[in-house]
């Protein structure tokens, strides 16, 4: 239990997926204009990454390892993730309308989010089991959600600031992200 907690805190805060590993930067910068869309994106990412870690973990353990074809992991994982996202989208559309309304628009954007593949590969690299992998995936996605919501909050305030002309738009967001990354460096003392 303690081990799982350490892994969770480590992936959520210390090695934050966006701010220290640079995975999932595209949605982090693209969908962080408003807090509620950022929260929606974050929820969708938590949902998909947790599910994807479970599925890829199971595939790795029960299919790739017994057949001795673990070197195919990248190909298998990317296809499984793409199919999974499509499937989840169809499933939600058919059976869970309210959830689909909330997450639907974000789901297609997640297919190419490198954080999903990144987590699946990290789980394998660190030889986590399925349960540990799911916990790691959930924590990583939670870390993504925390940072995207903070950034969105800051960006909402920044609307009223007088930013130099060349720094308007993306550059000032990157500077903000850099300052957040410095703040997150402080978490490294946590473990």
């Amino acid at each position: 239990m303690k081990e799982l907690l350490i892994i969770a805190i480590g992936s959520a805060l210390v090695n934050n997926v966006v701010l220290s590993q640079f995975l999932g930067l595209c949605p982090f910068l693209g969908v962080s204009k408003k807090v509620d869309t950022a929260a929606g994106m974050g929820t969708a990412v938590i949902f998909v990454i947790t599910l994807a870690s479970a599925v890829t973990g199971a595939i790795y353990q029960f299919i790739l390892t017994p057949l001795n074809i673990t070197y195919l992991q990248t190909i298998v994982f990317i296809l499984v993730i793409a199919a999974l996202v499509q499937f989840v989208e169809m499933f939600l559309k058919k059976f869970m309308q309210p959830l689909y309304q909330a997450l639907g628009v974000y789901l297609p954007l997640i297919t190419t989010n490198c954080a999903v593949l990144g987590v699946a590969l990290t789980n394998v690299q660190k030889s986590y089991g399925i349960l540990t992998g799911v916990v790691n995936g959930f924590a990583t996605a939670a870390g993504f959600t925390i940072s995207i919501i903070i950034l969105a909050g800051l960006r909402e305030k920044m609307e009223y600031n007088d930013v130099p002309k060349a720094f308007q738009g993306m550059p000032i967001v990157l500077v903000t992200a850099g300052l957040m990354a410095i703040a997150f460096c402080g978490f490294s003392g946590l473990l």
């Binding site: 595209c26 296809l79 793409a82 690299q125 002309k165 308007q168 550059p171």
Partner: protein, 248 residues
């Protein structure tokens, strides 16, 4: 041969993936802690890009339109796996330095972007050179960013000490490295300055009445996954239109 040269120039300068299109930002930020890592990542991506562009151009009339994206992804992922195994075998130091980011080349939007925008519509030879040009442009971008970060962060370039370091114990005066630049936050700051510089150029172009440049203003993310649909300067669309214009 003229066409090949034009594609190389296009990738290296005119549509440089790092400085102009701002594609593939994740590896750009993650591996540029030193010039040599940036260069290695760039060359690995180039190899994948050239091979996948070539194969996709060869198969462009065979792959059905509806399943083209999964087909492209399988082709790209196969080459990434091949490269990963080769690097592990022959360049273990680079393999260790790049780590997770090698398999993640699969989701690098430059590769799928070129497959979709160029290789799936053009013959083999131009596609090959298009991949080479784009890949070398990416390598150039990563190496430059890596050099800046390594220089400020450690006073080195390609591992050679350019600025003599200060040593308080021995009383030697010299350069005190700003180590934040080789850490994660430095990557964001360098990219921020780079985007600001790009904006500056575009503001000038916009003032001269170049509407296309004004449209692309201040967008630092890649359009393939960007949620901001208001930008109108979609990478896929513009490059397809550009190619059409050239043909006309």
């Amino acid at each position: 041969m003229n066409k090949a040269g034009e594609r190389l120039f296009n990738g290296l300068i005119k549509e440089n993936p790092t400085f102009v299109l701002m594609l593939g930002m994740c590896p750009t930020l993650a591996v540029t802690t030193s010039a040599i890592n940036g260069c290695g990542m760039g060359l690995t991506t180039t190899a994948v890009l050239v091979m996948s562009n070539m194969i996709i151009a060869l198969l462009r009339n065979i792959i059905p339109d509806k399943v083209r994206i999964p087909a492209f992804i399988v082709i790209i992922a196969s080459f990434v796996t091949v490269l990963e195994l080769l690097l592990e075998g022959f360049l273990p130091s680079l393999y260790d330095a790049l780590g997770l980011y090698i398999p993640l080349i699969v989701v690098n939007c430059i590769i799928l972007g070129r497959a979709e925008a160029y290789a799936s519509k053009n013959p083999v030879i131009p596609s090959l050179f298009d991949g080479l040009g784009m890949g070398l442009g990416f390598t150039l971008g990563l190496t430059c960013i890596g050099m800046v970060r390594e220089f400020i962060g450690a006073g080195q370039i390609f591992g050679f000490q350019i600025l003599p370091l200060a040593d308080a114990a021995k009383g030697v005066t010299g350069y005190t490295p700003v180590s934040i630049f080789v850490l994660a936050p430095g990557a964001f700051f360098v990219l921020a300055c780079l985007t600001a510089l790009q904006n500056k150029v575009r503001i000038k172009a916009a003032a001269k009445g170049n509407v296309e440049s004004a449209k692309k203003l201040s967008c630092g993310t890649d359009c393939a996954t960007c949620g901001n649909t208001g930008c109108g300067g979609k990478f896929y669309d513009t490059s397809i239109n550009d190619d059409k214009k050239k043909e006309e």
